[in-house]
């Protein structure tokens, strides 16, 4: 698998001179399979950076949405394959207790928020995601609901014995601050033993204390979760829009020094990771 971090910023885009390396585009990750297949995790503004990864002649792309907050879907309407009848785009995402994905997603993909209606995109196929295995071709994909305001999924993707887990918005510390009871740890079933965990690391410890319940993790919490689930590599993700490259370097280095045992990768925009 080849994993490209197309958009790494959380909450809202933040382009500018202070966010060059970590990036200003919101959440989107491209996963390329060995046979050229393409799976995209979330459709924040960073999804446009996946255009160059589409192999010529590809007939199907799958997009897995963790949840429907704007920073995870705002790039959807600008993703070229949605308008290409030669490519089937399959969009997978969470249902609420009363509404399916089509109903929920069309709140954004319809006027007045967007000029094109979801129902007019004829090559788009929508799939409600229940917890469990998904029938996504070329990959083994498992989803589970996790702690974040509103229905939110985490995904585990496997191919040829390699695995990644993607939980960009996740607050496992809510109610379980010490991560010591893995049976009761949100997301554990999909994170356990994964090769690569791309995880919410939005806050510093101090910022988290002021934003408990907002649905995100601190750098240190992401690290503790990775340790509890015996993850091999942790990629920090969903960077706070107020954090500059300099600030993120500092947070990252602080943890690397404190816990040199875990492979910690800074979630830089455009980073490519091979498994």
């Amino acid at each position: 698998m080849r994993i490209t971090l197309c958009g790494t910023r959380g909450s809202v885009g933040r382009a500018g001179g202070k966010t060059v390396r970590y990036g200003g585009d919101t959440s989107s990750v491209a996963v390329q399979g060995g046979n050229g297949s393409l799976l995209i995790l979330d459709a924040g503004s960073g999804i446009a950076n996946a255009h160059d990864l589409i192999s010529p002649g590809v007939s199907r792309i799958d997009i897995l949405l963790t949840h429907l907050h704007m920073d995870h879907i705002q790039g959807l309407g600008f993703f070229h394959p949605l308008y290409n009848p030669a490519i089937e785009t399959h969009i997978w995402g969470p249902v609420s207790t009363t509404a399916g994905l089509a109903s929920r997603l069309s709140r954004y993909l319809s006027p007045p928020l967007f000029p094109v209606r979801l129902r007019d995109l004829h090559s788009v196929h929508l799939h409600d995601v229940p917890p469990g295995l998904l029938s996504v071709p070329n990959f083994s994909v498992r989803a589970d609901l996790v702690i974040h305001p509103g229905p939110t999924l985490g995904y585990r993707v496997e191919e040829n014995g390699h695995s990644i887990a993607y939980l960009p918005d996740h607050e496992p510390a809510l109610g379980s601050p010490t991560f010591d009871e893995t049976s009761w740890l949100s997301g554990y079933s999909i994170i356990e033993g994964v090769d690569l965990l791309i995880h919410d690391a939005q806050y510093s410890d101090e910022e988290y204390r002021a934003k408990i319940g907002w649905g995100h993790s601190s750098y240190r919490q992401a690290l503790s979760l990775a340790r509890a689930a015996e993850v091999r590599t942790l990629v920090t993700f969903h960077h706070d829009p107020e954090h500059s490259d300099e600030e993120l370097d500092r947070l990252h280095e602080q943890l690397r020094v404190e816990d040199p045992g875990l492979e910690l990768v800074a979630g830089l925009a455009g980073a490519v990771l091979e498994l």
Binding site: T97, P131, D144, I147, P149, G175, W184, S189
Partner: protein, 271 residues
Amino acid sequence: MAAEPIEIILLRQWASYIAVPTWITDTEGRLLYYNESVESIIGLRFEEADELPAEDLADRFAMTEVDGSPISHYDRPLIIALTKQMPAHRRIGLRNSDQTVRELEVTAIPILSSGDRHLGAMATIWDPNYQPDPKGQIAKLRRGQYPIEVILTRHWASYLAIPIWITDLPGNLIYSNQPAEALTGARYEAGDFPAAVHAELFKVCNLDGSPIPDEEMPLTIALTRRVASHRPLRFCGLDGTWRTIEATALPLVGQGQRLLGSVAMFWEIDQ
């Protein structure tokens, strides 16, 4: 944004994942949250309700007696839970826009946390005529693979001062909070606690000492009929002391209307 207590944050997150209509208020009865299932009953999104005066909101939720007659303010389950700090469970009518009255059941519980903190109340709404779909049920919950609805239940239960059990669908105990351990005298160890074992360990009977058939126990009703159940009973835990308690059991109904298990709560009653 004012920071809500962790108990309210967790209850709100839990309610957002639960398919049962759920309404949370503060200690004054002011609306803190209702979930999408309530939205579909009253036809008003929570975000819009937040801006409505309390009187207008009460008009939207047109609660009556079952026969359609007005219901006294003080007979409303949420008001009872808030004022008496005890659970309240009763059948009500809900007047539809076409003026017909729909029969529902409401269970309200006070939100009581450690340090004698009263944080508000939570009301859940049930269809007494609901017919469970056996195909939608999953059996024993496996440790390490608990659904998020169960994980969140455990988290808020761990903060509350009310004795609480969580069971899976066959009635196996999968979590007991500290107040429940104090009540039952049985310490919860990580690991399932089969239903048959806790039925043998603890003795229960009616207030007059007569036996309670298993099918009339609140937990059994919650798990088999998928409605909340509530009854006073006498309970004897491992310490050999008989106590009078009120037991309330709520079915745990998650995403996709999956019945996952139950939440049982106990209140000691002064005799």
